[in-house]
């Protein structure tokens, strides 16, 4: 059983970190996992994305064309990756920055104002964890507690002050998704 997640957005939105949190949680849960970043010139001020694959066996390719889930944190990411999500998969869109809603009708989708929710929590930088929380509601590939434990265990020392806010952001995203998720027909 293998699950592929693409997280995409602008550089500076915590895209790569969000993927790492999932990767740490998967590793600590005893799963195989790969975290593959877009790297190189495109990262500077442009788009950033990463692919996280979770599996119960040795992982082949760390990149897939058709992921099981997408977190699109901005408009270009939605345009680029929405068409590629596997039918029956999950699409989480940051409605605060997207110019449109989800067009696919064969996926579970949630349009979540992640920046708005993050600002209400006191820090716009929490939008990434809001989106991750929403994804976990639609794609329960990891327990929320496992992801929170990963934050506790692996958040760098100098970011310790952000531990509680990050966990609140996960919960806020999950709660929003439970109320607003659009399930595929």
């Amino acid at each position: 059983m293998q699950t592929e997640i693409i997280i995409a957005g602008f550089g500076g939105q915590g895209i790569l970190f969000a993927g790492q949190v999932l990767a740490y949680a998967a590793m600590d849960a005893g799963m195989e996992v790969t975290w593959f970043p877009s790297y190189g010139p495109e990262m500077r001020g442009g788009t950033a994305n990463c692919t996280v694959i979770l599996s119960d066996q040795e992982i082949g390719s760390p990149l897939v064309k058709h992921p099981q889930a997408l977190i699109a944190m901005n408009a270009p990411s939605l345009d680029k990756f929405e068409p590629l999500v596997r039918p029956g998969g999950v699409v989480v869109v940051n409605a605060s920055l997207a110019h449109r809603g989800i067009e696919r009708t064969d996926v579970k989708g949630i349009e979540i104002p992640a920046n708005h929710i993050a600002e209400e929590l006191g820090d716009r930088r929490l939008a990434n964890m809001v989106a991750v929380g929403a994804m976990l509601t639609l794609l329960p590939v990891l327990e929320m507690d496992q992801v929170k434990q990963a934050l506790r265990d692996h958040l760098p020392e100098r970011r310790r002050n952000l531990l509680e806010p990050n966990m609140r952001a996960l919960d806020a995203g999950a709660a929003y998704a439970r109320e607003h998720a659009v399930l595929s027909s």
């Binding site: 990767a23 593959f36 790297y39 190189g40 992982i59 082949g60 760390p62 064309k65």
Partner: protein, 375 residues
């Protein structure tokens, strides 16, 4: 399960070398390898070991050469363009018969190319690794864990055979994160080997050189290197196989291309296609005999690489026309998706190649079609 850490390939390779007891690192930054050098710049001084960023790759390799002659455990790392600059030094090190470990984190080329993952240096290191009659050992990891394990072994191999071991990774292995179980810290060597030049007075003079002005003398060295290489060939062939037991078709790929092929082979198996994967880990010595033994059992083989078919030539030499071989590759820093390899596996089964078919012919036509903009 042993405790695992989530590490980026470049940093994990550096940590593996430190745990293997590397005493001196000389290098020069180049993407997509730089995190290895950066990690070394932090950790080596903490441990009281040598880290030195040279003014160029040429300087770095020659510093490493000198340090290796003292019997120290020495390494460097670079990417294609830097490895090109190092190749003179690599040949000197091999000719002088001193151990040295080099990591090549390949990028797109030729020329300055780009920093995306590629396997374009296969021929450069496996079939050359320096001018003259040189025999470097080349090991190709397909995961962060395998990179760690191979680097840990690389120092032993370099010392056992007094030669250069090149760990041939690519930008994807360097940049991705995976869980790794790191090996134990090994103590640094207390005694220097009996060939090392250490400046110790009172014992017979030792001399290390790659300069043999008289061809008669050089030929003696050449034969010694060749005989040692035969030992390497006998003892150090490494590969992994997947789903080969009942396989009628065999995909061959190393490193990242081998991993992508593994995904494609699994997808093909779900469709009922009897396909297996052979993944060479030692590229030199190449698992020639093993592939030769497998060839008669296969209806056809397909080589998958992230280059224009460099290992393909070694596979063809191994197979000796016992089964037809087809090729599929991406170049220039492009990484194939499993779906496109799966499509090629389906075609391999549906329209198997003949022995007369040029292995690259269909692939080139496919590439031309794929890269031509739709009008």
């Amino acid at each position: 399960m042993p405790k695992r850490e989530l590490m980026k390939g470049n940093e994990a390779m550096a940590e593996a070398a430190i745990r293997a007891g590397v005493e001196a690192y000389f290098g020069y930054p180049i993407t997509p390898q730089s995190e290895l050098l950066e990690y070394m710049s932090r950790r080596m001084p903490q441990l009281g070991r040598v880290f030195l960023q040279a003014e160029s790759e040429i300087a770095a390799i020659n510093m490493a050469y000198g340090a290796a002659c003292t019997g120290a455990r020495v390494m460097s790392s670079s990417s294609g363009p830097g490895v090109s600059l190092m190749s003179e030094g690599l040949s000197y090190i091999i000719g002088t018969e001193v151990p040295f470990v080099l990591v090549d984190v390949m990028r797109g080329g030729p020329g300055l190319g780009n920093i995306a993952p590629s396997q374009g240096d296969y021929r450069q290191v496996s079939h050359a690794g320096g001018h003259g009659d040189t025999f470097p050992i080349v090991l190709a990891p397909a995961s962060v864990q395998e990179a760690v394990d191979l680097i840990y072994q690389a120092f032993d191999l370099a010392e056992k055979y007094r030669t250069v071991v090149i760990v041939l990774a690519d930008g994807s292995i360097g940049q991705m994160m995976e869980p790794v179980a790191l090996p134990e810290y090994r103590p640094l060597p207390e005694k220097r080997p009996d060939w090392a030049v250490t400046g110790e007075p009172g014992r017979p003079r030792r001399r290390l050189t790659s300069l043999y002005l008289h061809p008669e003398d050089e030929e003696v060295v050449n034969l010694r290197l060749l005989k040692r290489w035969r030992q390497v060939e006998a003892n150090e062939v490494r590969y992994r196989t997947y789903y080969l037991d009942d396989a009628e078709y065999i995909v061959v790929g190393f490193g990242m291309a081998g991993r992508v092929a593994l995904s494609a082979v699994r997808m093909a198996r779900e469709e009922g296609l009897k396909v297996g994967l052979f993944r060479p880990v030692s590229l030199r010595p190449f698992p020639t005999k093993e592939l030769r033994r497998l060839a008669p059992k296969a209806k056809a083989m397909m080589v998958v690489e992230m280059n224009s078919g460099q290992m393909l030539d070694d596979v063809l030499a191994a197979v000796q026309g016992q089964t037809p071989v087809r090729f599929y590759g991406r170049m220039g820093g492009m990484v194939p998706f499993p779906d496109e390899v799966l499509e090629q596996i389906r075609l391999l089964v549906k329209e198997p190649p003949t022995l007369d078919e040029d292995p690259r012919e269909r692939w080139i036509a496919h590439m031309e079609q794929m890269l031509t903009p739709a009008s």
